[in-house]
Symmetry: C2
Subunit: 463 residues, 2 copies
């Protein structure tokens, strides 16, 4: 079906990644919402261009025609329009569905998570946009995936560039799609497509080629504002001024070390209206570049896997769902979480450290037979005190199998009950890793539990 | 579509409930897994009896026939068989789908969450089963939904009871379904259905009626083991002995105060093979009982809303997915989370306390114009130090509107920058609720941040 189950180890990694991302979203004051997994088919119609063929429809079993959501942005826009919300900063983490050709060995599935953060509202230019980039910077740094770069560009700069290079108005979108392939194909191939397939003049293509090779920072934006040709386009100038403003905020946010103004960045989606951005991992080894055996060119997946976040400004989408067309300006970012998961999984595989799938702090065990009752009494005290504890579901398990379970699950402590300990009113607490043992008094509950808790916290941190 | 969006306030409540439930599952050492939202249609076929008509199918767009999952138990059993797992303790929280007649005003939707905890494996009798009940007890106590009762029974006791009351073997399942209606209908109605519709003799029905009126604890199980008729059934005796054993463990777990052995509990699902249980809220007012206007009888939804958890033992389900039919005994519980959400929402509505939808600790504000740069510098320091902070996306917001935002979002602290403070190298930190102010030195970063952090933690707890 092109989908997959997540096993407990994968879930443990997933939980860690989600906690980091949600922690960042919350640090920036985001609320969260949730929308249904299916939408009315008409809500999704006409939003994804050619990719609409990848939408999963539900069977018509009577009632409305429904489709599984394709992304979280369109449901978000529908939600804002439907509830007449004009200001919100929200995140949404949920699965989306695409009837794509699954490439499961490369971590591409038909069901996958998206992690979106968006700011909707009429605000002063580039402040929310800069915060989105700050968020990408924080998340990628904290996830520790290796070095990365965030490319930024603006749809208005692209459109202005096309205009001054002599691209006819009606070819902007299709030429933009061709430019979007620059992260997968060399310029020569892209130029060929522009000239041979899209019917652009060689001269226009060459001019585009010059621009899209440019990368820089605020200085590049300043230079292009002085550029004889580029400065003729009002649109391009508006975009370039905003890039300058953006970089001034990024300096205050201390993230310019990773951000590059890159004129080759185009991004596929139709609905972007202003700034666009994409984060790529640059560290060799993490995203191995393999080549397609058939033509020697890098295959699509192998090159594009480097992308781990992307987004931009879409000021027109909410208006499409409002009966009166009222616009709500939006800017947002989507973290490519599946790619992050697979990198984290690879790292976990390579590491000597075992991934724990439970958080159990202590195993309640016994050295002799017929102590189930005593063990269940003790574990009840532990659970009631909020301690994460396990006991085997056997009346008389062997001590060895109880200790083995600790080793396998990474449980740091084992509380061992025995006849003698019961007589003495004590519990033996053993650190599994070092076999170090302490005796805790167990006849006065308050005392023993307080000491137990301390032991659990210290030991589970240490072990 | 019979579905709903969750707004930020609902999500905040949902998150709190999930944290309580997941905390309990983790305290008991559970791992978690995830399965896709759709399964092969054939996986779901033949598992839900008459309810199969409520399954959502995907449109045949080429490829396999797929259906949206109807519950989490069948995907779990499929997962165990497919991966040849014979031992696991896992929880799974995810949405399931039913083409039911939505009763949205009563909180019934076609898309809703299930929270399942299950223990799979061949263990000594009743230990995992008792832990499931302990978990229900812990969760319902911690959620503080009001008083509750956990009814337990056993499929083998029901079957044995039917046998000794003279129900023909081939009518066990259908008579069981009729008994299941006892939580919605009075005995007279149920008896009528048994006799008139299911063709049972009046005498047999009356004997059943006597048994299903019985409620008690371990004592009732003991009495029934001595019961002349009941003791004739080996099955019933096995079930009764297990109920006795169960209660002995429940005593050690300190949960017998809420658990009742109730012979009228039947539960609809076919796959249960042993113990079954269901938790109901008993507090008046929380689950208002309205009557159906048409016939004066309590309508189905209004009475059954009291049920907030249910489950049981299903030793045969995994074997249905194994090519060799290898069985994996399972017992589990499902928390009726949607019902819990709506109770929590009602409580939040009724309470004077405002539900916060963000966790922002401090708002970075300014008293004068042209301080955006300074504010962005300060908030960068705060974010980088892990403090949850917000700033308005305006160059020159009014101080009043910044303070209003704090009031509305429940942000406890506001850091106010002004010309004088900047000159003096300090930041003014104000507690929104009390207007109390302190000045923090802001020229040596380390000192100021440490103090800032303390302030945030203390104040956000206090406020």
């Amino acid at each position: 079906t092109g989908t997959r189950d997540y096993n407990p180890k994968q879930m443990a990694i997933r939980e860690k990644v989600f906690n980091t991302i949600i922690g960042c979203f919350k640090r920036h004051g985001a609320e969260t919402i949730d929308t249904p997994v299916f939408e009315l088919k008409e809500t999704l119609t006409g939003k994804y261009g050619e990719d609409s063929k990848l939408i999963y429809d539900l069977k018509d079993q009577g009632g409305e025609l429904l489709s599984l959501r394709y992304d979280l942005t369109v449901p978000f826009a529908r939600y804002l329009a439907m509830n007449k919300i004009t200001n919100i900063k929200r995140y949404h983490i949920a699965k989306v569905y695409r009837r794509d050709n699954p490439a499961m060995t490369r971590g591409r599935y038909r069901e996958f998570y998206q992690c979106d953060f968006d700011i909707a509202g009429q605000y002063d230019a580039m402040i929310p946009d800069a915060e989105c980039l700050k968020i990408v910077h924080e998340i990628l740094s904290e996830l520790d995936l290796g070095d990365f770069r965030i490319k930024v560009n603006d749809r208005r700069i692209l459109d202005g560039m096309f205009a001054v290079c002599g691209v006819p108005d009606d070819k902007f979108r299709t030429i933009c799609s061709t430019v979007d392939k620059l992260d997968k194909l060399p310029w020569e191939e892209v130029k060929k497509e522009m000239v041979n397939e899209k019917g652009l003049s060689e001269e226009a293509a060459d001019q585009i080629g010059e621009y899209v090779s440019m990368q820089g920072g605020m200085d590049l934006a300043e230079r292009l504002l002085q550029d004889q040709k580029m400065s003729q386009s009002k649109q391009a100038c508006a975009g370039l001024s905003d890039i300058k403003l953006l970089f001034s905020y990024l300096q205050l946010f201390q993230v310019t070390d990773k951000v590059v103004f890159d004129l080759s960045l185009a991004r596929g989606l139709d609905y972007y209206t202003g700034i666009i951005y994409e984060a790529v991992l640059t560290q060799a080894g993490v995203a191995p570049v393999t080549t397609d055996a058939q033509n020697g060119a890098p295959s699509e997946e192998s090159v594009s896997v480097g992308s781990v976040a992307g987004g931009g400004r879409y000021d027109g989408l909410v208006g499409m769902f409002d009966p009166k067309g009222r616009k709500v300006p939006c800017v947002g970012v989507s973290i490519g979480i599946e790619r992050v998961f697979s990198i984290m999984e690879q790292k976990a595989e390579a590491s000597a450290e075992k991934v724990r799938t439970t958080e159990v702090q202590v195993m309640v065990a016994s050295a002799q037979k017929n102590l189930l009752e005593e063990k269940l009494k003790l574990i009840t005290e532990l659970w009631n005190a909020g301690i994460k504890a396990e006991v085997m579901y056997k009346k008389n398990p062997k001590l060895l199998s109880q200790l083995q379970h600790c080793e396998e699950s990474g449980i740091p402590l084992v509380a061992i009950l025995g006849e003698q300990e019961l007589k003495d009113g004590v519990v033996k607490l053993r650190v599994v890793a070092t076999r170090e043992e302490v005796q805790l008094i167990h006849n006065t509950h308050t005392v023993s539990l307080r000491r137990f808790k301390c032991g659990c916290n210290e030991k589970s941190r240490g072990g």
